[in-house]
Every structure is written in C-alpha cells, then in structure tokens.
Symmetry: C2
C-alpha cells in the first residue's frame, strides 16, 4: 500500500468512527462505561465502538500489527508494519459532552517513533482530517497546513498539560506559563498537537513523562511534517518505542526560535 | 420588561451576533484587527460587529445604561438599569479559528454584581443559550441545567486561568492543580463558567485578580442560579462593581463540598 492507499483507508475508517461515536452521543450514552482497557483507563462504550470500527478496517490489511489504547497489541508480533491507534482520544471530554475529541492512527515500518510513515488524526466533532506522510508534508482537509510564525513568548498561545503533574513540576513551569500570552489545555492530545501543526496554538508542552505513543505518534508526524519542532524536554531527539509501556515528555513549538525560548525557561 | 421579555430580547440579539461573527469568519476576516478597545485589548472587526448587533437591540430599551468590553460606558450614567456586555468573549480563540467563543449579557438593577437580575450567554459556535433570572434557576436551551455532583478532588475536572499569572501564584496553585483529575482552560471565561453550571467541568478558578464584570456577570448569575458556589479567593462574598475598572479573583465550584476542598488547597 502506498501513501495514497493509506490515506484513503484511514480517512474512510476514521469517518466510520465519527459516525459511530456521534450515534453513541445522540443515544445519550456518552458516559456509559464498560471496563478498564489495556492502558489502565476506564473504557467507555464509545471507546469500544470507535476501536471496533478502526479494527474492522485495519485487520483486513495483511502483515499489520495493531497497538491500541484499549485492546493492547493485536496481530503477529513479528509483523514489520505496525499501526498505533487511539480510537477515541479525549474520552473524558466525550464523556462530559465537551465537543473536543478525535481519533488518531499512525502507521510505522519499525518499532519506534522515527519509523512512523503515515499519520491521520480526525476531529470527531467537525470532521477535520489532518494527514501526513513522512517526507511529504502535512495537510488539513486536503489543503497545505503550516504552523504560526509567532516567535515572541509574549504573543504565544501555549498548550500545557498539567493534569496530575507534581506540585514541584508545576512550580518549575511557573516562569514559562507566566511569560506566554495564554496557557490553554483541552484534553485531547493528538488534536491539540495538530493545532500546533496548523497554527491554532503556537506550542504544546507536556513535561509529566506521561505521554503515550498511541495518542502521539500520528500527530507527531503531522506536526513535524508541517514544520514544527518537537523534541524531548531537554531539546533532544524524541524516539520512544511504539508500545503502551513507553511514557515520555515533549516540547512542541511552531518554529525553532520559539522552541529555543521555551526550553530556556524550563526547569533544568 | 419582565424576565420573559428580557429573555426574548437577549436571545434574539445574541442570535444576530452569532450570525454576524459567523459571517466575518466565513469571509476570512477572523483575524482582522481595528483598534484598542475601552478595556485595553485589541479590537477585532468581529468584536465591533458583535457589539454593534447587541447595541442595536439594547439602545432601543429606555432607561438602560450599557457597559461594554469594547465601547466602554454608554447612555445616561444615572440610569437605574444597566446592561454589562462582552459582545465577543474569547476573541483570541475566534482570531485563531479555535471554535470556542461566546457573547455575554447581564442586566442589573444596581451597580454591583449582587444586583444582576438577568444573564444570558450564547455559545457563538453551536448556538447553545444559557439563561438565568435571579431566584428562578437556570436553563440551557430552555431545559433545566445543573452542576455535576463530583465531590472528590481526584475526580474533578477543573478549569484554571493561569495566563500571565505571576510564577509565585502558579507555584502556589501547584498542590491544587496536582490534586485534581484534569486542569483545562479554553479562553472564553463566560462560557467556561457556564460549563460549571451545566456540569461539563466541576470547578473554575481564577486567582489572578484580572477578571472583569463584562465577561463574568451573566455567567455568575447562571452558575449560582444553577446551584454552583461562586466566591472570592478566600471564600467570601464576591460583589465587584459592574464597571470596566473592577478586577477580581474567584473560585467557582459545582457544590459546597468541592468548593471547600478547593479553598483548603489554595495559597493562604
């Protein structure tokens, strides 16, 4: 399968996910919970329905292993091709009827982040589709997407995930949060990283060592292909394993200048 | 004019605002800036268009003074009746094409927050209308609205506005942010306070002494009429003047138990 094939398969599969979770919401079952998933989070009915739609499409593809937020790892462990998926990123928003959640699918030809070849994130509320193929740039709904050109911290809208961060880490981030124009956070990481790719926010920082590949791999490719800079918390190469165990921090910014300014204010 | 009259006038006027700002966005002029408004913020074309729609309706009402985020104070300074409006709360989101902004109108029979009699907030993206009349409860799109029943900090989704807070204040909020399930912030305060009223988030805290009556008065009535507890940062009565000069902090929570637990973790 080439890039165009993957784009078509993932676009169609994610559209089915959108249809399915929209129906769950319309039937008043947004907060219906089922069990605890592979990741340790509570699984909603909508998580399960979203996953089953993605699996319907992905399990048809030969030689593909799937790593999913809910079901864990599926398929031949020796398969060269791996799909890393979060069927419903932002489940808590969905549960609370806050219209901000997405589906995220990355396809890799190896076991770590650098091996991701294709990434698709769909906003399940308005249907926006972010897509990237490694080396070929990034699109939103088929149009070229690019980060903002902001370079000054005082003009920066910065997403920061502070949820359950230790108090010392929050204190350590004080100078940075204080320096930017606005701190925002909405609770669907893949979609929020796509917001950096398309210039809706200028940066996204998560220093809690809690990010997982399932809701990061696709948006990472989308953001970097759009031209954003995404590193670990020291500015080094970010290359976690594409499994459910790896947890990491990251600093994403629209451009190298803002990225450097953010790093300078971070706790050492 | 009785409550039903006000509800109708404000519902219709805010619908026109929605139509107008939607058109500005569709014409690709979301980030078109004009000047610096009465509040010191940059005024977008959309701010101005939104304000002009509200003024069209409000200036028809006899004996009404208007205090607006953009235009400042308008009408007879001795008028008993005052409307406190933010025509486009969340302008920065609008400017960045982030679909989270609203219009806010409160009507008071005196000069401070306790005198607010009616409040309406309209989500300008999806048209949701939050409405309250003092002593008569709160509705969302005509249906009864109520806060969540969460009482434990570890289950709490808490909105906190940290933008440009001093580093020491951010550090002081570390224990609280660390204790809750998630910290979120979207950047349209009136709408975010309505999210407390309808249980989408459990609490909303802003300790920066920067909140203004224009984007607070309507949602304050909506939240308190829904049953939420809203106080100053010490748990005391919140009763700022309904003008552009007053700046204040607040702690809003779904119920008294969670409100007390939040206060206990705040810097003294």
């Amino acid at each position: 399968m080439n890039g165009e094939d993957w784009r078509r398969v993932l676009t169609d599969a994610s559209k089915e996910v959108q249809r399915k979770v929209t129906r769950v919401a319309e039937q008043g079952e947004a907060s219906k919970a089922l069990e605890v998933g592979a990741s340790g989070d509570t699984t909603l009915l909508a998580d399960k329905e979203a996953e089953s739609e993605l699996f319907k499409a992905l399990t048809r593809i030969k030689g593909l292993r799937i790593v999913s937020e809910e079901a864990g790892s599926w398929g031949d462990p020796k398969a060269k091709l791996v799909a890393i998926v979060d069927p419903l990123d932002g489940s808590s928003n969905f549960e609370r009827r806050i219209p901000f959640y997405c589906t995220s699918v990355a396809v890799a030809t190896g076991g770590s982040l650098k091996d991701v070849r294709f990434g698709l994130v769909r906003n399940l509320v308005n249907g926006d589709v972010y897509w990237a193929e490694k080396g070929k740039g990034c699109t939103k709904n088929g149009e070229h997407a690019a980060p903002s050109r902001v370079t000054s911290l005082s003009d920066t809208v910065m997403d920061a995930d502070l949820s359950r961060a230790p108090p010392e880490l929050i204190a350590g981030m004080g100078p940075l949060i204080s320096a930017v124009k606005r701190q925002v956070h909405q609770g669907a990481n893949a979609l929020e990283l796509c917001f950096v790719a398309e210039g809706k926010v200028d940066a996204f920082v998560d220093l809690r060592k809690k990010m997982r590949s399932t809701d990061f791999a696709a948006a990472y490719l989308i953001a970097t292909e759009a031209g954003a800079t995404v590193t670990d918390s020291d500015g080094g190469v970010l290359d976690p394993e594409l499994d459910l165990a790896a947890r990491f921090s990251f600093v994403a910014a629209n451009n190298k200048t803002l990225h450097r300014r953010i790093l300078e204010l971070l706790p050492g």
